[in-house]
């Protein structure tokens, strides 16, 4: 477990460690944030649970995308399959998490095996589009599942039951589920860390940079890539099962291609092929989505105050008119994304110092 972190002597290691500590201890200091009027305890935990779960999905995508160079544009399909497994079982009265979760993971692995076996024979953009195609097929299957709500989706009335260990009501439910998600994320990070630093990971990274050489060295590169693809699918299915429990709702929208796009954005934004990159990316992307409008309103209020103090209030229009501009916050988000690509190569992770693989 210790090998997971870079040495605390580097900035990079310190920041990562601090981030994990901050995330891990959130349930304990959230009441304090609430009391200080910063953010309500429930909302902080609900929001961050979502971030953690999507971070798990992003970490799984990073295994194939960052380390294996396989750009899957249909990764959200496993979130959908994991979610639907939990949702459909719950719909038929099977609440046992010890049945739901292994099945969700197993089915996702099987699906990944099928998709991978067919897609991995192609390269580059053909691979991207083929993974997209399979995800779209499953998406339309979801839309067509009228027994389970079709396009409307399905409400999950009871969450997965783990032998009654998890509280089912109120704040306790939220806190417990946050802790579960955090522990799963750490375990997944550890697993990926072990994988990429094992012989398996070396081979996988080797196929990314020079597949022919790896083949010449006697590696069955196709099998390595397929294995990574299946593991990533299984982990993402786990994230889907968690997400269904978190939102208590499933719908085909979970596996829409834009969700797969979001996952890619998280990985690239955070830093590809870095263990913690996807976590940074998920946090940055989801929190920006959530708070950028408020942030812009704040900036606009300051600007308006400042400029009207200099030029006189009448000259520049009302504050209300200015605040309406915050509705166009996606312009700001888009600009940030372009700037990150152009000037922060390697994503957020690269801002913390020398990139380290694994």
């Amino acid at each position: 477990m210790a090998g997971l972190l870079t040495p605390l002597t580097t900035w990079r290691g310190r920041i990562t460690a601090l981030l994990l500590v901050l995330l891990g201890l959130l349930p304990w200091y959230a009441p304090w944030l609430d009391a200080a009027g910063i953010i309500s305890q429930k909302f902080a935990l609900t929001l961050m649970t979502r971030v953690l779960i999507l971070a798990i999905a992003a970490v799984s995508l990073n295994l194939i995308l960052g380390y294996g160079g396989m750009v899957s544009f249909g990764h959200a399909v496993y979130i959908g399959l994991g979610g639907y497994t939990v949702g459909i079982m719950a719909h038929h009265g099977v609440q046992d998490g010890f049945l739901q979760f292994p099945l969700a993971i197993g089915l996702s692995a099987l699906l990944a095996l099928a998709i991978g076996a067919l897609s991995l024979r192609t390269r580059g953009v053909y691979f991207i589009m083929l993974t997209l195609a399979f995800a779209q097929l499953l998406y339309y299957v979801g839309v067509g599942l009228e027994a389970y709500g079709g396009d409307d989706g399905l409400t999950i009335n009871r969450r997965s039951d783990f032998a009654g260990l998890l509280p089912t009501r109120g704040l306790d439910k939220i806190v417990a589920f946050y802790i579960v998600s955090f522990v799963v994320l750490v375990l997944v990070l550890w697993l990926v860390h072990r994988l990429v630093n094992a012989r398996f990971g070396m081979a996988l990274r080797g196929t990314k940079s020079n597949e022919t050489r790896m083949q010449a060295l006697g590696f069955a590169t196709f099998h390595y890539r397929l294995a990574a693809f299946v593991i990533a699918g299984a982990i993402c299915g786990l994230a889907g099962a968690l997400l269904a429990n978190h939102t208590e709702f499933i719908s085909p929208a979970m596996m829409h291609w834009t969700r797969s796009g979001d996952l890619i954005v998280m990985v690239v934004l955070g830093g590809m092929g870095s263990l913690f990159g996807p976590l940074y990316g998920a946090i940055a992307f989801l929190l920006l989505e959530e708070f950028l409008p408020s942030l812009l309103r704040l900036v606009l209020t300051w600007l308006h105050g400042g400029i009207s103090a200099v030029l006189g209030g009448a000259a520049i229009g009302t504050l209300d008119a200015w605040l309406r501009l915050a509705e166009y916050w996606q312009i700001a988000l888009g600009t940030i994304m372009i700037l990150v690509v152009l000037y922060a190569r390697g994503g957020i992770d690269s801002l913390f110092g020398r990139p380290r693989h694994g």
Binding site: I15, L18, L19, L22, L33, A36, G37, I38, I39, S40, K42, F43, T46, L47, R50, V143, E146, G149, G150, D151, D152, G153, T155, T247, E248, F249, S251, A253, M254, Y280, I283, A284, L287, E290, F291, S294, L295, R297, L298, E327, Q330, I348
Partner: protein, 390 residues
Amino acid sequence: MKRGLLASAALLGLLSAPAWGQQSIKIGFISTYSGPQASIGQDMRRSVELAVEHLGGKMAGKPIEVIYEDDQFKPEVGKQKSEKLVQQDKVNFVGGYIWSNVLLASLKTVTDDGDTILISSNAGPSQIAGELCSPNYFSTSWQNDQTPSAMGQFVQDKGIKKVYLISANYAAGKDMLAGFKRTFKGEIVGEDLTKWPDQLDFSAEMSKIRAAKPDAVFTFFPGAHGVQFLSQYAQTGLKGTIPLYTAFVIDALSLPQLKDLALGVPGAQSWVNDLPNEQNKKFVADFKKKHGVYPSFYGAQSYDTIMLIASAVEALKGDLSSKDKLRAELKKANFKSLRGDFKFNNNHFPIQNFYIQDTVKDADGNYTLKTVGVAMKDAKDAYGDKCKMK
């Protein structure tokens, strides 16, 4: 990242700094303010703003604070925004919701919280009218089936025998066809469900309609899609050959684009801009004065949402501490609705009239809608029996 986290936490603190406490009536309002369907959200928002203005910004002497959140036309985003409104902003009411799937995704978040009342201003999926009904849920719109049922009745009464159905392939689209079939007893000569929301071209379906030779076509396409369908219907030469009957295609938002294409195409609705009650005249006139365009039924239902809340808050003199009392007051629907008085069914959906509307030109040459008949009087939705509430 730590710095980022702290900074955003500090900013959040600043943002929530104005400590309203329990002094204001807080209403969250979820709708679509971006993307191709943003005009619906804009109309709803304008109507809510007008309602607040008409109330003088106060309910029972307390200031009204409305927080608008954009669902981006996506169920999961709608759900997150609902979480924010309930858990972070701690609103007393959440209103809005155009789309059934967004509403269904958000339902539990709001109604299971115990402190928040959800009032749908538009979406009315059958599940919520039936088995998912909740004491914390009210509707100032309709159940999805009702409007097409009214249209089906109208078509049936006209003595039309053969109808072709075409709708969008998602849950509400299927509800619409089911609703039409409930009251129309003639022959269905063809039925098409088109890809939603990204089908751009209806040429294949148009050709099928022509070949099927129906006496009439019934269609449901909300927002921008309705405009596409009607344009193509005219370009293909079907308009004027086969009469078209619609639900949620022609409204104040699509009319400025449809213009003459909408002439002679009836629609059904529980509210029309010319309903002759005082509050409606005032609403339509003030809206038109402020924005230069007619309000749509989306807006009227949103206005009613705010007025329903106001009636309950006034009756309780601003004391919302007892949720039981609040629910009881809301249940009375004791307010001046823009569609005239209505009662709530046991599942908290309105029992109301449905009208047939036609497109006309007003005195200034703008296209608008006119009531031409009542299709159903005091109509109850068909799912109340499945709801356990009394």
